[in-house]
């Protein structure tokens, strides 16, 4: 096994992520949330969906799944850990990433392509991208509105990696789809090996789907596996 893709009850993007990772050059395998051994994995992805129905609070119940101890271990070992959408919400709940995600500004589910500007290439998710690069990637969430108690220190830490923008990279109120604080779309941890984002790179991994801009993110992640294991 190279990448473990975790399936919680209610997860639904697991097969899409496996396919996206394959396009980016990595083999991936599904693991059930009750599994407690990810020994063979060089990296782990928490895909999108509605783990435990998103009941109580998005990600709140999933973070206690048995598999999360392994995810934490891998994060502490410096292995690449990625959360997409619901996976991002779970990593935040688990305290592996800063902040939290609340309901979209307009209280509506949003499913459409948005633009993201790469703010930092210092993370497992963005290392193969270029700073300032604008990507067109679908967003698909109700609770995608990023909040954090101390945004200044987050900004100062260099842990913001992706920000919503327009096609030209400008940040205007209208280009922030969900009201996220400072238009933050993706963040990393201090060690830069854990990353999370709300948009779905796997949905932009083949031209026939309308965009393959997400590939550079998935390829970054795959390249990180090799770097760590090298």
């Amino acid at each position: 096994m190279t990448v473990a893709v975790v399936v919680f009850p209610g997860t639904n993007c697991e097969h899409d992520v496996v396919r996206g990772l394959a396009t980016a050059g990595a083999e991936a395998e599904l693991v059930w949330h009750r599994d407690t051994d990810l020994e063979g994995a060089e990296g782990v992805v928490l895909p999108g969906g509605f783990a435990h129905g998103d009941y109580l609070r998005t990600g709140a119940i999933a973070r206690f799944s048995p598999v999360m101890a392994e995810v934490e271990r891998m994060a502490n070992d410096g292995l690449p850990v990625l959360g997409i959408c619901n996976g991002f919400q779970i990593l935040c709940e688990a305290g592996l990433l800063p902040g939290a995600l609340v309901a979209n500004r307009d209280l509506k589910f949003i499913c459409r392509p948005v633009h993201l500007e790469v703010e930092s290439t210092d993370s497992v998710l963005t290392r193969a991208a270029t700073r300032g690069q604008v990507l067109r990637i679908p967003l698909n969430s109700y609770e995608g509105n990023y909040v954090t108690a101390d945004v200044d220190s987050l900004e100062g830490s260099g842990n913001v990696i992706l920000r919503y923008s327009d096609a030209g990279g400008r940040k205007r109120p209208a280009s922030n789809p969900n009201g996220s604080t400072n238009a933050i779309a993706g963040v990393t941890n201090d060690r830069r090996n854990v990353a999370g984002l709300m948009p779905h790179p796997e949905r932009a991994s083949e031209a026939i789907l309308g965009s393959d801009d997400g590939l550079v993110l998935l390829e970054s992640f795959v390249a990180s596996l090799e770097l760590v294991s090298a």
């Binding site: 209610g10 509605f50 129905g53 499913c111 698909n140 109700y142």
Partner: protein, 718 residues
């Protein structure tokens, strides 16, 4: 003096129906039995007013694997792939509680599809509401859309299309139909016929509560009125999380060959599911209600039998496989209880606390249901309506007309709806909602499936036969412009009160028109649903048959046409007949003049076939194909220009020609000057500039048109 209503009348049964029950049983029915017959013989479950006419639909094409009658229709896509499809209505529940009504509608239709062994991969939602200037209509619209989003997104099935109409007669009777599509490999197909004496019936999923017991009929029953009325909500709350687990668990059961048969629980809950699955297999069943896992503990046997709690399935498994099935359920974190045993039959026997509470021939609940030939009569008032032919003045400015039409919420941008739905999950969606048909690929094959739902209630009211035929051709054209050929139809027949001869006439005419059109196109009808009694305060809805069309292509176009692919310098052609001054029920007459009158033009089946075929062929060659429907050529051209962000010039067409809604026409935008097609084609203009420029017939700046179109729904819902 006090009078008491006999039980069967309170349950909505006629005296004749009651006598028939007595005859079947050879005795007076017990309370639970009467409840079972009353629900199973209700219009909703038995199709007693419509069945006599549904035989008009044909499903005899070689690619049909399962026709009408099962939970979903199934067609063959080649190389071992099958598609399962079905459509259902959830009209009344959505009026009572729009969010939960629509949500549970999605849940129900998905169960019909995965009951067949298929993984559900797409939902579509044909909707009808009253006009959006009324706050209550806005509340219903908003609630229904978020209910579909809330359930569909969370259960993890993309909603890839649908349609919406707004008209006064839907204000107190909104229509919420839901269609679902699933795919499966041939060896995964499961049917709902129990076999094997001694096999076990396992109830999977949600606990049984007092939800929606018997819908309207049982609610009125005195015999089950032991508790407080308030304890018996007729609103069901959907749980997409439970359904998601149920889907995964069932698909794994099929994969591992662990079920003999399976049936979802819908109307009339356990009583319907047990009798159908046993009856279908010519078997009987002994059911023990004490084994049913309950949400509330003081439920009567009748309540348990009739409860319509959501997210439940009934699987028939061999005793040897029972432990494995239970283990699998536990792994997926769903509850399972073995509630019955298949018997040699034919009796369905239901026990509660050791007592026999019902014993009926299993098949009789379905097979012996009443069948009515209700009187039908054409409304005489139609003569006057038909005689009043709409006309279009020569001197109108099409730019001004577009300012009105593009602002109509059924014509303007509907992404306010579709962007609330996950329409991308599973990485199949190649042409997303917002075009004519949506196109899904089947991954790792060259095959594609196109989907479109269409209805046209106002035109159908003007002429039910022509109106219904036209929606079939429109749906066919919608899938054809993506490169797919019409392959299978499901229909949802939403009508008023069938006891009124005029409604029955509308129904029969519409079935005739729809069936004829399907025959002309050689497309089989593999399933459907009838929703009668859409009548409030004595007002019937406009007759609203809806078609759900599956198109199929193998291979799929490498670059399927899109509305946003037009570029400056390209030519514009129209394929199909010349306009015939078809304004009855047109957007121009309805929206601009505020009239509903005249008689819509008929369709020529032969020409229809040629046009559809031409579209499916040209879709492999041309960047933009778009069918011409509501609002005619003018609106269709505006949609292409707005979506592509570039203007266009059309020189010699009169306002009437631009607004005409003659069916069976589509637009092509492409490179070059010449276009070959085996249907009539003519060049009408070219792409370029920053206006929608119709020459002497008028113009409007593209930016202005785009803003009006984009704001049509949001400005009303803000």
């Amino acid at each position: 003096m006090t009078t008491t209503t006999p039980d069967h009348i309170a349950l909505g049964m006629t005296d004749e129906e009651y006598d028939h029950v007595v005859e079947i049983l050879g005795r007076t029915p017990m309370a639970a039995e009467l409840a079972m017959y009353s629900v199973m013989w209700s219009e909703h479950c038995s199709y007693k007013s419509s069945r006599a006419h549904l035989g008009r639909f044909n499903s005899d094409q070689p690619w049909v694997v399962v026709g009408p009658g099962e939970n979903a229709g199934v067609v063959d896509l080649g190389d071992g792939w099958l598609a399962a499809l079905r459509i259902e209505s959830h009209n009344h529940p959505s009026y009572v509680e729009p969010y939960e009504g629509a949500a549970t509608g999605v849940g129900g239709i998905l169960r019909d599809v995965f009951t067949m062994g298929a993984r559900p991969i797409a939902v579509l939602d044909p909707l009808r509401f009253g006009p959006l200037d009324d706050p209550h209509n806005r509340y219903l619209f908003e609630g229904v859309v978020s209910g579909i989003a809330g359930y569909g997104n969370a259960v993890g099935v993309p909603t890839v299309g649908g349609e919406v109409e707004f008209a006064d007669r839907f204000a107190k009777n909104p229509l919420v139909n839901v269609m679902a599509l699933g795919i499966l490999k041939r060896e995964q197909l499961v049917l709902s016929a129990a076999s094997g004496e001694g096999n076990v019936a396992i109830l999977l999923g949600n606990a049984t509560g007092r939800d929606g017991i018997g819908g309207a009929s049982i609610l009125a029953s005195a015999s089950f009125e032991e508790g407080d009325e308030a304890k018996r909500p007729n609103v069901q709350v959907g749980d997409p999380f439970e359904e998601k687990k149920l889907i995964e668990a069932c698909l794994e059961l099929y994969d591992r060959g662990l079920v003999v048969a399976i049936q979802d629980l819908g109307a009339a809950g356990i009583s319907c599911a047990t009798s159908e699955i046993a009856g279908n297999g010519g078997m009987g069943m002994d059911v023990d209600l004490d084994k049913v896992h309950l949400r509330e503990h003081d439920m009567t046997p009748g309540e348990i039998l009739m409860s319509e709690s959501q997210e439940r399935m009934l699987a028939i498994v061999t005793p040897e496989n029972e432990p494995e099935v239970r283990a699998l359920a536990e792994r997926w974190e769903i509850e399972a209880s073995s509630i019955g045993v298949v018997t040699r039959g034919p009796q369905l026997r239901v026990f509660s606390e050791g007592e026999l509470v019902a014993e009926v021939p299993a098949a009789s609940l379905a097979d012996e249901a009443p069948l009515y030939h209700r009187p039908a009569e054409r409304p005489a008032s139609l003569d006057a309506v038909w005689a009043d032919t709409p006309t279009v003045p020569e001197d109108i400015d099409v730019g001004d007309v577009l300012r009105i039409l593009l602002d109509d919420p059924a014509i303007g941008d509907r992404s306010w709806i579709s962007s609330q739905y996950d329409h991308m999950l599973f990485l199949n969606t190649v042409v997303e909602p917002g075009h004519d048909g949506s196109l899904l690929r089947i991954k790792d094959t060259n095959k594609g499936m196109a989907l479109s739902t269409d209805g046209d209630a106002l035109r159908t009211w003007l002429d039910p036969r022509r109106g219904a035929a036209r929606i079939v051709f429109e749906a066919a054209l919608n899938v054809a412009v993506t490169g797919a050929r019409p392959y299978a139809v499901v229909d949802n027949l939403n009508f008023g009160n069938p006891e009124e001869p005029e409604v029955m006439w509308q129904f029969i005419e519409a079935v005739e028109g729809m069936a004829w059109a399907c025959d002309e196109l050689d497309v089989p009808v593999v399933g459907g649903n009838v929703s009668f009694y859409n009548q409030t305060d004595g007002v019937d809805i406009y007759p609203a048959p809806v078609v759900g069309m599956l198109g199929f292509c193998d291979p799929m176009p490498e670059r399927p046409p899109r509305l946003d692919a037009a570029a400056a310098g390209m030519s514009i052609w129209v394929v199909g007949p010349d306009p015939e001054h078809d304004f009855a029920g047109s957007a121009y007459d309805r929206v601009v003049n505020g009239e509903l009158r005249g008689r819509p033009a008929d369709v020529d089946g032969d020409l229809g076939r040629r046009v559809v075929s031409a579209a499916a062929t040209l879709a492999f060659e041309q960047p933009v194909l778009h069918d011409i429907s509501t609002g005619g050529l003018a609106v269709a051209l505006a949609e292409i220009a707005i979506r592509s962000g570039v203007g266009l010039h059309v020189d010699d067409l009169s306002p009437a020609q631009l607004l005409d809604e003659t069916p069976l026409r589509f637009i092509i935008v492409g490179e070059g000057e010449e276009l070959d097609s085996f249907a009539p084609v003519r060049k009408i203009g070219r792409i370029g500039g920053s206006d929608l420029d119709f020459g002497p017939s008028g113009s409007i700046p593209l930016d202005e048109a785009a803003t009006i179109w984009r704001d049509a729904i949001p400005r009303r819902m803000a």
